[in-house]
């Protein structure tokens, strides 16, 4: 079961199999392997088969749309009307969303079939999926290791062949990092490219929906249906969406790829560095020009990110108060008890830690020193990129400092966990689009290469990734699902 979207579309078009058949195949595989991988929180088998039936009818009637009949998985952060949307939290374990996220609407409108909702770090806070109320998902390449996070369930599902592609969200690396650790392709578009409506907020100025697939080609298709202006999201940008598939085959001869000198220095695992150097060489062979760039302020992205994201999350998560939806504690003795116990019992440790930090950063007397300061440095980080993109078309960087770590290895040390995102956070701070593509292996575990493009230049990003995948086969390697 390691089909791509493209292969499924071809099979459906040629009548090699029906949508019901392929959907049933995936559901069977999920039933068999989800107990080990734990990549799905909810499996929507009935709904999937129903959607598949409709899809088959449309195909028969010659009315197939972009993704008609293609089964997909959705991160459990996207609200799905009538389906439990837990966000990986006990707080929302009983939350049957009464509306669809725009992303879900767009994908449904393109004819896709929903297999289920994938596992994630609670409220997207984490880099390992270990913070899920539903237990950690595991890395299909090594079940002792994490799949990354927060969209670890989506990444693991695609890597394990339990979905051909999946949606995810990326606030500080939550698509790119698990894509890298699971050996698949992931894309986080420009901030404002994909609607945030119905996507449960973590850090509103950083969150962006995106996609996981085996190939850049599939990512292009999925992003095509997800992207676009949404009048229900004030931060959604009204900017034309080009046809991403059309430009995939463009020649990258003369493409200027910048390597930030700060990222290929200390702190990067030497095996990973070797893998990445080989990948860069591949680009040289394809005719790209490799130049050095500098992003001097990016070293401060970890502190900036944690202040900004946590301040925003502390406020975003106030709506979970046990009054209108979600978890409510037993027998609250008064209003304060209702709030404190519903939130204290409904949120997990990491979420509480982040709410506390964010609350502190915004509180009287600390606002200027933390929040305002972080927003100023945020601008400097963005300016670094603006300067770099005056000279280059694409920036290449590591996605992660090391391969997938062992389950439980970092759970007791929040700071070392936060440092896992050292190469991904700045992208969200700047709002730029980025991808992670499989670039090789270290100790038998996948290594990702991160590609970054200028604002709204997803087409070039996908083209650059696709050209690499035409010349290499790292993305075709499959984890053996036992």
């Amino acid at each position: 079961m390691s089909k791509t979207i493209r292969q499924i579309q071809r099979g459906l078009a040629r009548g090699e199999f029906s949508s019901i058949e392929i959907t049933q195949d995936y559901l069977t595989a999920i039933k068999a392997h989800n107990p080990t991988i734990n990549c799905y929180i909810t499996i929507t088998d009935e709904l999937a088969l129903q959607q598949a039936k409709t899809a088959d009818e449309r195909i028969a009637a010659g009315q197939a749309q972009a993704l008609t009949g293609v089964p997909l998985a959705h991160k459990d952060i996207f609200c799905t009307d009538g389906v439990k949307t837990s966000c990986g939290s006990k707080m929302l374990d009983n939350f049957i969303a009464p509306y669809n996220a725009t992303v879900i609407e767009n994908i449904e409108a393109s004819g896709a079939v929903m297999l289920g909702k994938t596992n994630m770090d609670e409220f997207a806070m984490g880099s390992s999926t270990e913070n899920s109320y539903y237990g950690p998902a595991v890395n299909p390449w090594d079940h002792q290791r994490v799949p990354g996070g927060s969209s670890g369930g989506s990444a693991a599902a695609v890597a394990a062949g339990l979905a051909p592609a999946a949606t995810g969200t990326d606030t500080g690396g939550s698509i790119r990092q698990p894509a890298a650790l699971c050996g698949i392709t992931g894309i986080k578009p420009t901030y404002g490219r994909v609607s945030r409506y119905g996507m449960i907020a973590f850090g509103s100025s950083l969150d962006q929906g995106g996609a996981f697939a085996r190939t850049a080609e599939d990512c292009a298709q999925l992003i095509q249906t997800m992207a676009g202006f949404d009048p229900r999201d004030s931060t959604s940008i009204d900017h034309p969406v080009p046809n991403y598939s059309e430009t995939l085959d463009g020649n990258i001869k003369g493409l200027r790829i910048g390597l930030p000198k700060e990222f290929f220095a200390d702190g990067l695992d030497s095996n990973i560095a070797g893998v990445l150097e080989a990948a860069i060489d591949e680009y040289r062979k394809l005719g790209a020009e490799i130049v050095e760039v500098s992003l001097p302020n990016s070293k401060l992205s970890v502190p900036v990110y944690y202040v900004v994201a946590l301040a925003e999350c502390s406020s975003n998560l106030s709506r979970f108060d046990g009054v209108r939806f979600g978890y409510r504690c037993e027998n609250p003795k008064d209003l304060e008890d209702l709030y404190k116990r519903s939130r204290g019992e409904g949120f997990g440790e990491e979420v509480k830690r982040r709410i506390l930090l964010g609350t502190y950063a915004l509180s009287a007397g600390y606002y200027d020193a933390y929040y305002l300061k972080a927003q100023q440095v945020r601008r400097l980080i963005k300016q670094d990129f603006e300067r770099a993109f005056e000279d280059v078309d694409i920036i290449a960087a590591p996605t992660t400092p090391e391969i997938a770590f062992k389950l439980g290895e970092k759970t007791d040390d929040p700071v070392s966990m936060y440092l896992q995102d050292i190469y991904t956070l700045f992208l969200n701070l700047a709002g730029l689009p980025g991808m992670s593509i499989p670039a090789g292996f270290s100790q038998g575990m996948p290594v990702g290469l991160q590609l970054i493009a200028n604002y709204f230049d997803e087409a070039r990003l996908l083209n650059t990734a696709h050209q690499f995948q035409q010349a290499s086969d790292w993305h075709l390697q499959s984890a053996e699902v036992k």
């Binding site: 009983n94 939350f95 049957i96 009464p98 901030y191 404002g192 100025s205 950083l206 009048p231 004030s234 931060t235 302020n297 401060l300 970890v302 502190p303 900036v304 944690y306 202040v307 502390s314 106030s318 108060d321 046990g322 009054v323 209108r324 939806f325 979600g326 409510r328 003795k333 008064d334 209003l335 304060e336 209702l338 709030y339 404190k340 116990r341 939130r343 204290g344 440790e349 509480k352 830690r353 709410i355 506390l356 930090l357 609350t359 502190y360 509180s363 933390y370 300061k373 972080a374 927003q375 100023q376 440095v377 945020r378 601008r379 400097l380 963005k382 929040p414 700071v415 709002g431 604002y455």
Partner: protein, 95 residues
Amino acid sequence: MTLKTEDVRNIAHLARLQVDDESIERYATDLSNVLVLVEQLNQLDTSGITPMAHPLDATQRLRDDAVNETDLRDKFQNIAPDVKNGLYRVPKVIE
């Protein structure tokens, strides 16, 4: 910057989070460690730099003043912890 347990207690109250006594020490340590990380920001002189609240320099788009929502009370209240006569209920608030 080191946070004391008392600070954590105050923040937890502001955030309406129940935190038991045994975890409060751990939170104080964890939060203090993160604050050490955050203090790296002070290395940089940022005077005169406009804070950046949004990644893109866009301005607010406005919506026409039109009613386009319908009454979905039943659907919304179906998933509510405690409702009666169309009202959400909470323990009595004394003003």
